[in-house]
Symmetry: C2
Subunit: 357 residues, 2 copies
């Protein structure tokens, strides 16, 4: 039995495991699988327009009556920067030439719209059990409406200061996102990622700083990691990378291969894939142009990469893709997501029992 039931009771779930909403890597299938497995299923909404979200939620509700989370970004868009855009395209031109692509071609970039009036109205219509935000929280009027719709609100903190900020604004739980985590750092109070703490150091400092339950994220991929998170004072875990191995994940074949071959030191924090720092597996683009460079502001750095990514992936290569991964990909295995959820919970409980025997 789980000693700390705060996260279980808050969400009304059986196992204290949330799947990270990973934009571009999953849809309703993952949400349903994790929810049916007893965890909190998530649907990443950042790549979808409202109609598509409505459709996905319909598919989820046709298959499960379990609670689930809709995940959004809450950043303030920066104005386009034509100079940076031009210099980024200049740097990428040799690759366009290599692939025989027109450097003036414009693939439709993936949408990564921040939470806005339109999304808020959709939340009021769909009333999901949980809404999660990354990069802070939306402005108070929108946040108030989400809460008034009856949704549980959670967000990520990468420092104890960010956790205190979220706690003061009335979130129901805080994800402490340690530096091991794959994908975008949820930073919003400081852009300085060089000083951010690993999960083992961060979680107890966040627990000591806030009133609400803390959900540990970053480097957790098996029962040992979950048991460790609870030892640190977390009441739940959010897991991303481990679910990317599962058949429900919608990642590209090169991404799946890279994850299968990843080691503890295969990833790096880079901003060149999107304009914001995120952890991914080192590939040719990162080696040659990054990991950190002056690129167009988030999410526009991805625009000029889109044709390169598509051409490379068509040729079976992930050398121009964002191969998001945390530092514990090597601990994961290709198991269906519902089964993985149940197995992770069982392994964690068994591990905790062993430790105090």
């Amino acid at each position: 039995m789980w000693h700390d039931r705060r996260v279980l009771d808050l969400f009304g779930i059986e196992h204290p495991i949330l799947v990270s909403p990973m934009g571009g890597a999953m849809d309703w299938e993952m949400t349903v699988a994790v929810a049916e497995g007893g965890g909190l299923g998530s649907l990443p909404c950042i790549m979808f327009k409202p109609d598509r979200i409505r459709e996905e939620v319909g598919k989820i509700r046709a298959r499960t009556d379990k609670p689930f989370n809709l995940g959004f970004f809450a950043y303030k868009p920066e104005p386009p920067d034509n100079a940076r855009e031009a210099s980024w395209r200049d740097r990428l031109k040799p690759y366009y030439d290599e692939f025989g692509l027109d450097p003036n071609s414009f693939a439709p970039p993936p949408a990564r719209a921040p939470f806005n009036e339109e999304f808020c109205a959709l939340i009021e219509e769909l009333k999901p059990a949980v809404v999660s935000f990354h990069f802070g929280l939306p402005d108070t009027p929108l946040l108030t409406r989400v809460k008034a719709a009856g949704c549980i609100v959670i967000s990520s903190a990468t420092t104890a200061d960010e956790a205190r900020w979220l706690d003061a604004r009335g979130v129901d739980a805080i994800i402490a996102q340690g530096a091991e985590a794959g994908g975008h750092r949820g930073v919003f109070l400081s852009e300085d990622i060089s000083t951010q703490a690993g999960t083992l150091a961060l979680v107890p400092q966040v627990v000591d700083a806030v009133k609400v339950p803390v959900i540990a994220a970053g480097g957790i991929a098996d029962g040992r990691g979950i048991a460790a998170a609870f030892a640190l004072g977390a009441a739940g875990v959010q897991i991303g990378t481990a679910y990317l191995h599962s058949p429900e994940s919608k990642i590209s074949t090169p991404h799946r291969q890279a994850l299968a071959e990843a080691k503890d030191n295969s990833t790096v924090l880079t901003n060149i894939m999107s304009g914001r720092p995120a952890r991914g597996i080192v590939n040719r683009l990162i080696r040659e142009q990054g990991p950190v460079a002056e690129v167009p502001p988030f999410p526009n750095a991805a625009n000029a990469l889109a044709p390169l990514r598509a051409a490379a992936e068509k040729a079976g290569s992930g050398e121009f893709s964002a191969l998001w991964s945390g530092q514990a990909a090597a601990l994961g295995r290709a198991v269906p997501a519902a089964e993985l959820t149940r197995q992770l919970a069982a392994d964690a409980l068994a591990r905790l029992k062993t430790l105090s025997a």
Copy 2:
């Protein structure tokens, strides 16, 4: 009771806690206090000449019959680089002017000699229970002599690859040094610190990679961290920063103050203090010249800093000192080291018991 007794049995200690040998921050007093507290006491030997080590060991043995560890560096010295030395001194000249120091003055730099024939002969004479190395291992002839003297040999790994390398060379236990750890990264197979994993991700991957017991290090500063390390599969922990708060530590007053005020995001990995990457609290020198720059090879970057550090510390400032610290300094308290050792062990056991209740 500790479920996994491998580290306890290997060293013959009561609590599975090692104090990191922190050169310049401690002497026999800390060694004795931790040993008498039931952990493994360590004496950092890198700042001491053989006569001083002999004297320190005499003081330890006059006060305790518990086992203890002598800690050494095992790096291969690089040849001096006059161009880098000159350009580093040029960069520092404005600070020399500010403090009214002669830029050609030469304070005797702290010794940081690698393990050599002379140290090896001393080990054969003193026969400590344990010898620890940082930055890999000494060459086989010296390593063979240390083992023949009956010493248990341990070393640090920052990646699973380094752990496998150490395991293949016959160490008795491996310290998995996560990215949260304060002081020098124990790197020896790769200098790329941007890809190194946090403790929570690293420990289980090292555990899976080697035969010998694994000791977790990095970000562990209270009973929760120790319990988490055991959850991850470690059979012991090595703790540094938490002991720096204790009255037995010999750090400067500014360093002690900086540790007392540190938050989860106060530290950074920097190479400018010594020439090798190490984690310390951000100060003026790091803000203005680092954290990472082209400086003279280890340990010579410290030479030109020595007069600045001395002048600043005399004025009560740590702005030019190496304020080594891990990412969990905020979890520590100023408790005598023997008491701290006992309290950490008791807290960890209580935490583990709670978790499975």
